[in-house]
Amino acid sequence: MSEIALRSSQKTTGSLARTEFWAGARDTIPLIIGAIPFGLIFGTLAAPSGLSFPGALAMSAIVFAGSAQFIALGLLAAGTVWPIIVLTTFVVNVRHALYSATLAPYVKGLPQRWQIPLAFWLTDETFVLVANHYSRSGSSPYRHWYYFGSAIFMYLNWQLCTFLGVTIGRLMPNATAWGLDFAMPVTFIGLVVPYLKGRPMLVSVIVSSLVALIAFPLPNQLGLMLAALAGISAGLIAETRQKEKAE
């Protein structure tokens, strides 16, 4: 290849990658706006839940999993021991294994230096966008740049919002008296309601609610695990029965 042709080919490669990157970033904007209150509230709730200032920043920086981080705060506030919190994190995040399985065929050709950060940055939001993008946009070899563009902005936004939440939270020393301890349940309600489509999901949530109340006095948030497992099982049973009825 002549030098000019080589240069022109490199330029095309660079601009295709850039196009994918910015498309990923642009499509992520609404999800970033939706994540802002989470990040702020997470940061604000950290201190009243018993997580230190560096602890809150470190959790956002190296765990980077919104709902698990919130649940960890809830558990910390309830005085839960760390192995239960790590186990709960596993239960809450195990859905990411499905995301990982879905995207694996698309990223398996990439070198480790791509796969590792892309796996680390896998969130619900980025997963939905990237899975859609991979399923529709033919065979461009630069689609991982779209994934990267979406992921990096979700990540930076989460860090910034956590920092702002932690600092604003410090300006309002008594966050609980402000009623910010209600911010977590209210945020979770906004997350759960979109799932409530169809009878099995409703059954799951109702069973989980009842078991959570009945089992609340159990130590180490055992009630939470029981309620979650009961809810999951109930949903699965209801779904199976619904299918049997339909057949």
């Binding site: 602890g55 760390w82 301890d181 799951s204």
Partner: protein, 111 residues
């Protein structure tokens, strides 16, 4: 940061990354049994509900408060309706919080 926090955050990070990376490492060569795929879909709502319900109905951590003097309950009902009607997370949080604050103020003013 206390030692306990280092262990906690390190553990959470390790568990989370392992899950996210697991299938990239296996490169889609294994398949989930269908019942597990279905079960996993119930994990987020079931776990979140198990956290919401005690926080709203047992705000003091002692007894169930299922009545109008509980602002957590009123805020939660408003959030539920707003989320269901609008499907807008930000609006749900803002109106849920406002209802909670408003009701707390009203109860304090009346009782």
């Amino acid at each position: 940061m206390v030692t306990n926090e280092v262990v906690l955050i390190g553990g959470m990070a390790l568990v989370t990354f392992t899950i996210r990376y697991s299938m990239y490492a296996l490169a889609g060569r294994i398949e989930f049994p269908p019942w597990l795929v279905r079960a996993l879909r119930y994990v987020p709502p079931a776990v979140l509900t198990a956290l919401i319900v005690p926080a709203v109905l047992i705000p003091t951590g002692e007894t169930i408060q299922f009545d109008y003097t509980n602002p957590y309950l009123i805020g939660a009902i408003v959030a539920l309706i707003v989320s269901w009607r609008s499907n807008n997370l930000l609006l749900t949080i803002v109106l849920g919080m406002l209802a909670f604050w408003g009701w707390q103020w009203l109860i304090a003013a009346i009782l």
